[in-house]
Point group: C2
Chain length 194, copies 2
DNA sequence: CTATGTGAATTTATTCACAGCA
DNA sequence: TGCTGTGAATAAATTCACATAG
């Protein structure tokens, strides 16, 4: 689903109004009936003979993914990766706003990066009051679990974890881990040996 | 498969010798017979009554994934994200070595980051001679396609793309795209609305 | 008695094929 | 005619269940 959304937002940027399942399939390298089936799961929106209205469909998918309201997210760890995330264009188009940043390094605390002031990690508990329930972990590996624990205590419900470590959280909290090295590890499989 | 490998490397670090499919299943949150089936695809290594030898199994999976030889990879784009990747621990344990870095910014060219000298992107063609056929794209969105084209010309066979853009390459080249915002977009689905 | 390896059963996902609408 | 929406057919993945090995 997020893949469809990305494709639709891309098409929308190009100024297109509508697209057929076939064309979208070609664009995203998937099967056309797959797309029609997936879309039909949440009720049908296409116009036979024409295709799908891009804007309407994007709005619908956002609703399904719970992306229809703007979300605030917190970033923990303002190192190279964290700074890159703060500067990352694209969060916005999915309705995310990195509204707070935290670090443990006194040299960083107080500075502003991309207009977001860096706060002391000890202040993580304020997230509950500020109604921020999404967080991104971009701290060194050894601090990841501890950070996750603090986030859970602060009432965070969803975590995007960039550390190459399995973090353990109560099962009511959803974690998505991106292990960058692991992704790279998938590549050689498709390559000739040597 | 990469997930299994990560789990096994983790266990290996802990000093464990062997593990049963059941225990590994619990650790990775998958089904136990799934694991046995997957492992049996490339011939069986487990010892009934004991389990699988962790080191042996890890070595085997590395062989399957073509990870048994050290691989050199090139990084293009030494911004915040690129710098983070250069410092990323974990590539090593999958047998990767970021052996070259490129950027277009004259202020960065010539500097060393994490012992890797930053070269001019115009020098990308040297990758063929240096037998580097994996690359990581960490450039701004608008430069992504152009970078991919240069990499393909330089004989690169696998690309890890961090730009939120679909890059188009000949089908002999394998691309894995990590769209960070899209990953984050998956989280709200599991959250209560609001 | 514990844990593997694997055929059989089941569930899930994908693809096909076509009736019906604009 | 072009494309959707969907039942039917096919393929793939997952899980079960158990004979067998240490």
């Amino acid at each position: 689903m997020p893949v469809y959304l990305r494709g639709l937002l891309f098409l929308s940027e190009q100024g297109r109004q509508s697209i057929s399942s076939r064309n979208l399939a070609d664009l995203l390298c998937v099967n056309a009936s797959q797309i029609r089936k997936d879309f039909s799961y949440f009720g049908a929106f296409g116009t036979p003979g024409v295709g799908y209205n891009i804007k309407k469909l994007a709005r619908q998918i956002k609703k399904i993914l719970n992306l229809s309201v703007f979300r605030k997210a917190a970033l923990v760890g303002v190192g190279n990766l964290g700074s890159a995330l703060l500067a990352y264009p694209g969060f916005g188009m999915y309705g995310f706003d990195i509204a707070a940043a935290f670090d443990s390094d006194p040299k960083k605390i107080g500075r502003k990066i991309n207009d977001v002031p860096v706060e002391n990690v000890s202040n993580l508990r304020s997230l509950r009051r500020r109604k921020i329930n999404l967080a991104i972990i971009a701290v060194p590996r050894d601090a990841a679990q501890q950070t996750a624990d603090s986030l859970v205590k602060a009432g965070v419900k969803g975590i995007l974890n960039f550390s190459p470590l399995r973090v353990t959280v109560p099962k009511r909290v959803k974690v998505i881990t991106i292990d960058i090295a692991m992704e790279l590890a998938r590549l050689p499989y498709y390559l000739p040996t040597g």
